[in-house]
Amino acid sequence: MNITLRVNGESHDLDLDPRVSLLDALRHHLHLTGTKKGCDHGQCGACTVLLNGRRINACLTLACMHDGDDITTIEGIGADGLTPLQQAFIEHDGFQCGYCTPGQICSAVGMAEELRQGWPSHVTDDLTADPELTRDEIAERMSGNLCRCSCYPGIVNAIRQSLGEQA
């Protein structure tokens, strides 16, 4: 079926089998291979992209459901020079092999917006107050992104620094 995806600000017309996931549409049809396939079941977060500004698992949605939607992938983040978040990942050793990193970055961008909107998390003490940027908050909010190299301390430090906290 014919759909239009707007990816990183650019419109793409695609003719896809309905079974094609958004992840496979990005990687196999648009050749945007920055978004990674890890588990393909929503468990690892390597495929995290921003859908109309919100972070989702690209493996668990069908491309045909997103006709006209706005997608941001890692290729659309820092295209004109690294963002402070990306720079912080380098400074804090937020990766080793790097396979999960595009998903971590997209997830952290989505998470920052959720924090800005005052969304609580499982570890927020007071549901009605603005959440604080503690390590526990960031770890909980990033629990959908696994890192088999276990660079979690670096990832948390990088995110805290990018959000203006002392890492």
Partner: protein
Amino acid sequence: MRPFDYLRAESPDAAVQAAAAPETMFIAGGTNLLDLMKLEVLAPARLVDITRLDLGGIEADGDGLRIGALVPNSDLAADPRVRRDYPLLSRALLAGATGQLRNKATTGGNLLQRTRCYYFHDRDTPCNKRTLGDGCSAIHGVNRNHAILGTSEHCIATHPSDMAVALRALDAELELLSPNGSRRRVALADFYCLPGDTPHVENILEPGELITAVILPAPVGGRQIYRKVRDRASYAFALVSVAAAVRVEDGLIAHVALAFGGVAHMPWRDGAVEGFLQHQPPSPALFAEAASRLTAQARGFGANDFKIPLLQRTLAAVLAEATEVTA
């Protein structure tokens, strides 16, 4: 994944009419359905996409709230009215899944999640939910995450939702639209089925029937707690969970609503246990007796035997916290 026809519904009426056809399923968030379709545990011939329908939004409904079926779990958990008046619901939602999944998963879809029984997901082993009559592999198999209450010889699966456990304690109702255009309201209490000898039937939805909204009654106030015990600190299903809304007045328990997750084929509630606690002065002895009554009919299957004492202790701990009684 098996091939399927994809249809985008233009209206709720068109959606239910299309979904009344055989082998047809709705798709909304897709986070559970596509997972199971990739495993070919589910292989619908046709998907009806309802995501473009006007079934979102959270609005006042008398003294309560009307939650559209397409409201994402994230939005529901973050809604200021839910955080203030139904904190139990926010807490349960935030205890489940991940940020990415909650952004996609919908209110209606969350209620219709399928069990995380290992054998239901493994097409190489018998499962009465997948093929009625094949037998249950879990009863004599690996059953650490399985049910201890309301089981049958045909199925010991649990319902995986946290949200549904909170909604059960909050006396939520569902609004359903049928393919003939009629609407009905069903209490969540009457929505789910125990496995019995039809474990493939998980709820009372008719073919093509669509959940359009969840209705919450007026807030009950009091202390509201959702305690989830799981193998990891985040992103894991409940071994046992307890949803509690408790109000103490003049030293007596004036209101108590309790629902339990991870222990049955549906969010579990026990009116007799609530009746036992009602109008009593809270105390550790009272909580221990309530926990003992709750599990009087509980049965373990080996690897999940631990859930019986775990449920007892979790209930006692939640009641102590809710009533501010220390042992």
